[in-house]
């Protein structure tokens, strides 16, 4: 069914005190909402139940759904008021959109600023770039292990305390509002951590000599290896998630995933579990997979179509080659 939004239907059910069950689907996910006398009493969605499931479903973008009228009794697992939940969902979405807009604007401003002060570099000229070490701004995650790196509300960005790099690396892809769509939401169904390394080694390397030509080589290896399975890829700053080189670049996704990686590193450290290794994987909705490989000052963030590449091939053949090239450019 199309042409009618789930949100409107839910609000009318609530206002009219109807008893219905709703089966909703979006991007390969499915869930149910159960209303009795207009009150949302129960929900289930992909392993979640109750309020968490309801928030999950309410956040889905344009889901397909089917309503059945149902009046049989049902245990109540949700106590929150539906209106408050809808407002909270809207608030979260506004916050997310504001973050995406902000990051896109920042990326665009950086691109514009770069265009104003620096001629567009050609690849030949970049060969000399190696000669000048470029200090990169980054926040060593091991510097203050007692303090959690805050998961910053996207509308309230943490002030950037680290100095800006003297010269910004140019981005390979134009980064603008059009490229600012956020990365698909992870279902967190699977997170794999590979090859743990000692904590001391996991800290970003000191500022080294990076150059775009080298980063582009890493990107090309990834593109060649993954072919049309590669949906997007970014080599971005571990300090703030700014994309240096990208393919179908996801600037907003980079910034947010960068925060997630930072938080994950801290959580592992505080939680007494082995530190993050060379990469982690997350299964995304819609048969997609997120792969993040932090390597010193640079993070590799890629999204692949998991129907077009075998996991074994990805993990055992393509990824080692890409990581090896990445670690040459930016040691862990």
């Amino acid at each position: 069914m199309k042409g009618i939004s789930l949100s409107s239907v839910i609000q009318v059910i609530n206002l009219e005190r109807q008893s219905c069950d709703i089966e909703a689907q979006a991007d390969g996910q499915s869930g149910q909402l159960h209303f009795r006398g207009g009150t949302l009493v129960d929900a289930m969605a992909d392993g979640l139940a109750g309020e968490d499931a309801a928030y999950e479903i309410l956040a889905w973008d344009d889901p397909e759904f089917e309503v059945t009228t149902e009046d049989s009794p049902r245990d109540r697992t949700i106590e929150s008021d539906l209106t408050k939940m809808l407002l909270e969902t809207a608030r979260r979405q506004d916050e997310e959109n504001a973050a995406i807009d902000r990051i896109a604007a920042e990326s665009e401003a950086e691109t514009d600023a770069h265009a104003e002060v620096t001629p567009v570099p050609d690849l030949d000229a970049m060969a000399d770039f190696d000669a000048v070490p470029q200090p990169l701004a980054f926040t060593p995650t091991s510097a203050s292990p007692a303090a959690a790196p805050p998961l910053r509300p996207v509308s309230d960005p943490e002030p950037q305390s680290t100095p800006e790099p003297a010269v910004r690396l140019p981005t390979a892809e134009p980064v603008g509002a059009a490229a600012a769509a956020a990365a698909p939401a992870a279902t967190a169904a699977a997170v794999a951590v590979a090859a743990p390394v000692p904590a001391a080694e996991s800290a970003p390397a000191p500022a080294g000599a990076l150059n775009v030509a080298s980063l582009r080589r890493v990107m090309k290896i990834a593109q060649d290896g993954l072919g049309d399975a590669l949906l997007s890829a970014d080599l971005c700053s571990s300090a703030d998630g700014t994309s240096y080189v990208g393919f179908n670049s996801q600037p907003a996704g980079c910034a947010l995933i960068n925060q997630l990686t930072e938080r994950m590193t801290w959580s592992f450290e505080r939680g007494g579990v082995p530190p993050l290794g060379r990469y982690y994987l997350a299964e995304l909705a819609g048969a997609k997979m997120l792969l993040v490989a932090p390597s010193g000052a640079v993070h590799l963030i890629i999204i692949v179509d998991s129907t077009r590449v075998q996991l074994g091939l990805l993990l055992n053949v393509i990824l080692p080659e890409v990581l090896s090239a990445l670690e040459e450019v930016s040691p862990r």
Partner: protein, 286 residues
């Protein structure tokens, strides 16, 4: 003060856009949008295949074979004031045989259209420009009321008095008994009591504009008692509208759009008030 009033858009998005433009074009000091705001029918768009649909429009079933063509047809449906829902033949049968679902979907569509209008008004008008007041009509379901109450750029004015440039605008969507058994109708005595309470807030009747629904004994008694300078009246579908005097009160009723009009006309009335007198008025068509 120049007051531009329209009523009976009956769900037409095209008329709503015309209204937003007209307030500016006529250089009105205030725009008043009265009900009925909502449409009367839902077109069942049947999905026959991945890129083929059947759409009933203007008494015929149209075969549609591209998403672009579908978007065009559904926009035309919204412009004339109807709603649409896309379903498979099975979903359609399931809905058709369940009156509760028909009611639920219809009301959801009605609510959604009003939300779209408010968003459109916010985008088009921004924060500047004259105030625009909005109230439902007696034929509008109450599921739109909370949407209108958070109207953003539009100011809800139902069952209250709103001050605009020294004039009091008094509005009620309630009506007396009708043959359609509308949700906002009540018996004459009850309505009289309600309107009496509301209108007791009128200060100087020379500076009072009263918006009451189609004629009822209660409304007539209220007008006779308070003698506001102008009374705006809603009209029934397709009625010609017009002007009349009740005591010193000028009663004006703009025409309402015709249901069958595929390219609906926006009918309104522009009233010029000066120092508590009606200097002029003109009925408008756009």
């Amino acid at each position: 003060m120049k007051v531009f009033t329209v009523s009976g858009l009956e769900g037409s998005t095209l008329c709503f856009r015309k209204f937003l433009n007209a307030v500016d074009t006529y250089q009105a000091d205030v725009g008043i949008l009265l009900g009925d705001l909502t449409g009367r029918s839902v077109a069942a768009v049947t999905r026959k295949g991945p890129s083929s649909w059947e759409v009933p429009l203007n008494g015929k079933v149209h075969e549609i074979d591209s998403p672009a063509a579908l978007a065009e047809v559904t926009a035309a449906i919204a412009d004339r004031g109807d709603y649409w829902i896309e379903q498979t033949p099975e979903e359609y049968e399931h809905t058709r045989n369940n009156p509760l679902l028909v009611d639920l979907y219809f009301k959801s569509l009605v609510r959604e259209r009003v939300e779209e209008w408010l968003t459109l008004a916010d985008e088009r008008l921004g924060s500047g420009g004259p105030p625009i007041l909005v109230a439902p009509g007696c034929g509008d379901w109450t599921v739109i009321d909370d949407v209108l109450e958070h109207g953003g750029r539009l100011t809800p004015c139902d069952d209250r008095i709103v001050d605009v440039d020294g004039y009091q605008v008094v509005t009620s969507s309630s009506s007396g008994p009708t043959e359609w058994e509308l949700v906002r109708e009540m018996d004459d005595r009850q309505l009289h009591g309600k309107l009496l309470d509301l209108c007791s807030g009128i200060g100087d009747p020379d500076y009072a504009i009263v918006n009451l629904q189609a004629d009822s004994r209660a409304a007539q008694r209220i007008v006779k008692r308070f003698q506001p300078i102008v009374r705006m009246m809603g009209t029934t579908q397709g009625s010609p509208g017009g002007a009349s005097k009740r005591g010193r009160t000028l009663e004006l009723s703009p025409r309402s759009k015709l249901v069958e009009d595929a390219d609906p006309t926006l009918y309104g009335v522009l009233v010029l008030l000066e120092n508590g007198e009606v200097k002029d008025y003109v009925f408008t068509e756009a």
